[in-house]
Symmetry: C2
Subunit: 231 residues, 2 copies
DNA sequence: ACGATGTTATAACTTTGTTATAAAGAACTG
DNA sequence: CAGTTCTTTATAACAAAGTTATAACATCGT
C-alpha cells in the first residue's frame, strides 16, 4: 500500500465540503466589503460552524485569504484561457488585454485582493502561500495567465511584428504593467464613466502596443485595424 | 475682531506640535509595516500621550490616516514640482515620469497608502477626506501633480507632437496609468532587480509615449533621443 | 468494537478601535 | 487677578476580532 492512494473517505468528503462552504462564504464577504470585511466569527456563524473550522481547514485567517488568493488567480487564468488563440498574434494580444480588463471589472474584490499582495502593505498572503513567499510577487511570471501573454508576445516576435532584440518577457511586462495600471485606475473610480474608461483602455493599449512594434508590425496593425479585426 | 485672526496662543502651538509628533510617529509606523501596523495605543505610547490625543487631533484613526494620505500627496506634488519645466515638452514629460517613479521608490509606504485608496478595498480615506469623498478617487485629476502632467501634455499638443483631436486629459490618463502600473509592479517586487525594473520602466514609458505621438512628434522624439536628451 | 487520530464547540486571552467620564489645564471675562 | 467656561487629557470600560487551550465528539483503521 503506497502512501498516496488515500480513499475518498467520509471525513475526507466532509472536509472538502467544509472547505468549500467556508471559501464560498468568505468570497461573498470579500465581495461585499473587501478582505477586512471577513470576520472569522461571522464567517463561521454564516456557515454554521465555529471559528475552529477555519483553523483546521486553512490554518487561520491568513490561510483562508491565501486560498481566496489562489481562487482569484484561477479565475484570472480561466478568463485568459478562454480567449481564443487567434492566428493573428496582434489580435490575440489585444483580446488578452480586453479579457484581463473584463476579469477585473467582473471580479473587483478578487482583483483587489490579487494586487493587494503586490503591495508591500499586505503581509498576509506573502508569508502563507508557498509559491509567493520567497520571491514576493515575482512568481506570477510562472503563472498560467502570464504564460499566455508571453506566448502571444513570442508569436508577435516570430512573425516579425515585434523586435527580436528585446527579451520577450520585457515586452510582456510592458504590456502587462500598462493593462494593470489601467484596470487599477478604473476600479478606483478614476474615470467618469465606464465608456470613458473603455475609451482610455483602448487608447492606452493601442498606444503601448504601437510603441512596441517593429515597422513591419505597424503595417500589420494598420491592416488589421482597417479590416476591423482589432475592435 | 474678525473671526479669522486667531492669535498663536500656547494651546494652539501645543496642538500643532502634538499633531506633528503624532504624524511623525505614525508615518514611521507606516513605513515599518504598512497602515495595519499603526496601532493607536502603540502610537500614543511612542509619543508619550494617550490615545485620546489622536481623537482630539484627527477625530480617530481614519482621520489620522487621512492626514497621512494628504502628506503622501504633498510629497508627490513636491516631487513633481521639482522637475524643471524643460522647454522641450517631451523631455519634460519623460522627466515627470521618472520623478514619479523616484517618488514611489523613495516613499513606498506612502505610495502604497495612496493607491490603497484607489482600491475598493480601503474605505478608510474615502469617507474621511473632504476632496476624496464624493467622487471616489477621481478628484486626483484636480490635484497639483496631475496638473503638471496635463500641462506637459498640452505643451506637446501645442507643438504638434501629440494629436489635437484627442482630449489632452485622455492622453495624460494614458501616460499616468502606464507609469502607475509600472511602479505598482516594481514595488510589488515583480522585477528581479532594480536595473531590470529601470529598464522595463524606460522601455514601457518610451513605448506608450511613441504610441501617443503624431508623426511630427515621432521625428522630434527621434531627434531628442539621438541628442541624448531623453535619458 | 476499541483505541488512536483528528475535528469541533466552548470559553478564555490578547489586541485594537472607540466611547464615557472625570480630572486637569488653558482661555476668556469681569 | 479671580472665576467661569471650554478644551484636552488620562483612565477605564466596552465591543469586536484573531488566536489559543481544552475537553467533548466523531471518525477511521485494526
Amino acid at each position: 500500500m503506497s502512501l498516496d492512494d488515500r480513499i475518498d473517505t467520509a471525513t475526507d468528503r466532509r472536509r472538502t465540503a467544509q472547505r468549500a462552504a467556508l471559501l464560498d462564504a468568505a468570497s461573498e464577504m470579500l465581495m461585499r466589503g473587501g478582505p477586512d470585511a471577513i470576520s472569522l466569527r461571522k464567517l463561521a456563524s454564516n456557515v454554521g460552524t465555529s471559528t475552529m473550522a477555519v483553523y483546521t481547514a486553512f490554518g487561520g485567517k491568513e490561510g483562508l485569504i491565501a486560498a481566496l488568493f489562489e481562487e482569484a488567480f484561477d479565475r484570472l487564468s480561466t478568463a485568459q484561457n478562454s480567449v481564443p488563440r487567434d492566428k493573428e498574434p496582434l489580435v490575440w494580444l489585444a483580446n488578452l488585454g480586453r479579457a484581463y480588463r473584463r476579469f477585473a471589472l467582473e471580479n473587483p474584490s478578487y482583483y483587489a485582493l490579487m494586487i493587494s499582495v503586490t503591495m508591500p502593505v499586505n503581509e498576509t498572503v506573502r508569508h502563507e502561500h508557498p509559491d509567493y513567499s520567497t520571491p514576493p510577487a515575482r512568481a506570477i511570471s510562472r503563472h498560467s495567465s502570464y504564460q499566455n501573454l508571453l506566448e502571444a508576445i513570442q508569436a508577435c516576435v516570430e512573425e516579425g511584428s515585434m523586435p527580436a532584440d528585446i527579451h520577450p518577457a520585457m515586452i510582456a511586462d510592458a504590456f502587462w504593467a500598462t493593462v494593470h495600471g489601467l484596470c487599477s485606475l478604473e476600479l478606483a473610480g478614476f474615470y467618469r464613466s465606464a465608456d470613458d474608461a473603455g475609451e482610455g483602455f483602448a487608447l492606452t493599449c493601442s498606444a503601448v502596443l504601437k510603441g512596441l512594434l517593429t515597422p513591419k508590425g505597424l503595417v500589420k496593425l494598420e491592416a488589421l485595424a482597417s479590416a476591423g479585426l482589432m475592435a
